[in-house]
Amino acid sequence: MEGFAALGQGLGLRPPFYEAAATGAAVAAVDWWEVISENFMGEGGNPRRVLRAARAHRPIVLHGVSMSLGSTDPLDTRYLDRLAALAAEIEPAWISDHLCWSSLGGHRAHDLWPLPFTEEALAHVAARVVRVQERLGRRILVENVSSYLTYRHSTMSEPEFLTALAERADCGLLLDVNNVFVSAHNHGFDAVAFLDAVPRERVGQFHLAGHETLPTHLRDTHDHPVCDGVWDLYRHAVARFGDVATLLERDDHIPPLDELCAELRHAGEIARASRGSADQK
C-alpha cells in the first residue's frame, strides 16, 4: 500500500530486547521494531533513550492501544497531541491503532472491546479516523481485533466494515492474522474467506502472534509461538496481499530473542516463497 513500505519482518519491542535494539547488535533478523506508543510517552528515562537509540539502527512503527476509535466519548485530543509530539521526534514509518473502543464516560478500560458492525458505528469511526489523520498529518493503519462476542445489531460482516472504513476514511488496514484466526474460531466464520474479502490495496501491515486454546474458545494472549494454523493463514495472506511488512508480537512468556528471530526468519521464508511463486506465474 502506498505510504506503507514493505519493511520486512519486525518484532514488537519489549523490555527484554531494549539493549539489543539500542545497540543494534545481534538483531540481524529484525528488520524493524514496533513499539506500543503509550509506553514511550514519558518525558525521559530509559524508554525514550532506548527508542531514540533503536531508531538509529532500524525503522520504528508506533502502535497505539488507547485511541479508542469506536468510543462514543469525545476523541482525547491531549492524547493525540502527545502522540503527535512523539511521532515528530521519532519519525515513525507509520502509526497504527485498533478497530475497537476502550473508554466510556472518561474511564479507560485498557482493553480492546468489540464494536457492532452497523452503519452508525461505521460513520462514527470513519469520522474519527479522518480527524486523527488530520491531527497526525498522515494516514494511519487500523487493526482488526480478536473478539469473543458479536452483536445482534450488526448489519455487515467484519471485513465489510473494515473495507468500508478504509474507503470512507482513506486509511490503511493492519491485518492481524492471528486475530482473524482467533475470531474465526470463536464465531465460526471462515478465516480464508475473511482475508479474501479484504481489499488488497488497503493492507499496509500484518501482525503475527500466538494464542491460548481453551475448551470453549481461543484467547489472544501473545504468550505462545505462532501456531501452524496461523502460519497457514499467513501463507494465504502473503499470497493475496503480497510484500507487506510483517510484525511478530510477543507480550508474555517472552523467550530468548533467538527463538523469536527464528519465527521471524520463518515468516521471511514464507514471504519469499510466495514472491517466487508469484514471479513464476
Partner: protein, 268 residues
C-alpha cells in the same frame, strides 16, 4: 439499539464489581433479555459467558498492572487481601488515563483511606514509595553536575555556583521506617517501627534510588527543588548555630553527596 446504548450496557456489565452472571441475575428478567437481544450466544458460549470473558480480562489486566507496580505492598498484604483491595480500588478509582502506567496513580491515597490502610497505616506509605519509584523511571531527563566537575571547579567559582535539583526526584515525609522495611525479605512479616523520616527518591541516569535524609538536608532539598540557590547562600543558611568553618564543611559535605547521587543539574 444505538451505539452509545450498546457501549453503556457493555461497559456496565463488564466493569461491574461482580461477575456478569451475578450482575445480570440481580438485574432480573429485563436485563437478561436485554443482554440476549444485544449479544449473540450459542451452545458453546452463551451471551453471558461471552461477556464474562471480557469482564475477566478487564479485571485481570488491571490487577496484574497493580501487582507489578505495588509488588512490595502486594507481598506484605498477601494475594487474597491484595485482590480484595484491588476490587475496591477499581470500583472507586476507575482508570481515566490513556497510559496503563497511570492505573495505579491514586492507589496510595486510596489505600490510606481504606480500612486495610487504617489497620496498617504503613502500607499506604509503602505504596507511596513504590509509586514514587515508578514515576522516576520515565521522568524528565537532565544533565547532572558530576563530582568530577565539582573537583575541577576553581575555588573562586564556588561562591556563585548555582545549585538546583534534577526534575526526577520526590521528597516526602513518612511516619514509619520504610528504608528498613524495603530491605526486608518479608515486608509483611512485622510492622515497621514508627520513625518519622524525610524520604528522598530520585533517578540517577537509569537507576532509581531512595534514602532517608535528615531535617536540615530535607529543608535545603526543598529549596533547591523550587529555585536556584548559590553555594554561598547554602553556606550562609547552614551558618546558623555553626562556625563559618563548620558551615562550609557541612555545605561541602551536602553538595558532594548531592553531586555523587546525581541530584544536581549541570545547567542550573
Amino acid at each position: 439499539m444505538k451505539l452509545a446504548d450498546i457501549e453503556a450496557r457493555f461497559y456496565g456489565l463488564v466493569t461491574a464489581r461482580d461477575s456478569v452472571a451475578v450482575t445480570v441475575a440481580e438485574g432480573g428478567r429485563e436485563v437478561r433479555q436485554a443482554v440476549e437481544q444485544m449479544v449473540a450466544g450459542d451452545a458453546r458460549l452463551p451471551a453471558i459467558a461471552r461477556l464474562e470473558i471480557y469482564a475477566d480480562m478487564y479485571f485481570a489486566r488491571l490487577r496484574d498492572v497493580l501487582a507489578d507496580e505495588y509488588a512490595q505492598t502486594a507481598a506484605a498484604l498477601g494475594g487474597a487481601a491484595f485482590h480484595a483491595l484491588v476490587v475496591d480500588y477499581l470500583d472507586a478509582c476507575r482508570p481515566d488515563h490513556p497510559s496503563m502506567r497511570e492505573v495505579g496513580a491514586r492507589f496510595p491515597a486510596f489505600l490510606a483511606g481504606h480500612p486495610t490502610g487504617a489497620q496498617r497505616p504503613w502500607l499506604a506509605e509503602l505504596a507511596r514509595l513504590e509509586r514514587a519509584r515508578l514515576e522516576m523511571v520515565d521522568g524528565a531527563d537532565a544533565e547532572t553536575l558530576t563530582l568530577e566537575a565539582l573537583r575541577t571547579l576553581p575555588p573562586e567559582r564556588f561562591a556563585t555556583l548555582s545549585l538546583r535539583l534534577v526534575p526526577s526526584h520526590a521528597l516526602f515525609v513518612t511516619w514509619f521506617d520504610l528504608v528498613s522495611l524495603w530491605r526486608s525479605e518479608q515486608p509483611g512479616a512485622a510492622a515497621p517501627a514508627p520513625s518519622p523520616t524525610a524520604l528522598l527518591v530520585w533517578r540517577r541516569e537509569l537507576e532509581v534510588f531512595h534514602r532517608a535524609v535528615d531535617g536540615e538536608e530535607a529543608d535545603w532539598l526543598r529549596r533547591l527543588a523550587s529555585a536556584n540557590t548559590t553555594f554561598a547562600e547554602l553556606c550562609g543558611g547552614l551558618g546558623r548555630g555553626r562556625s563559618d568553618q563548620a558551615a562550609a564543611a557541612r555545605a561541602f559535605e551536602l553538595v558532594g553527596r548531592w553531586a555523587s547521587d546525581g541530584l544536581l543539574r549541570a545547567d542550573a
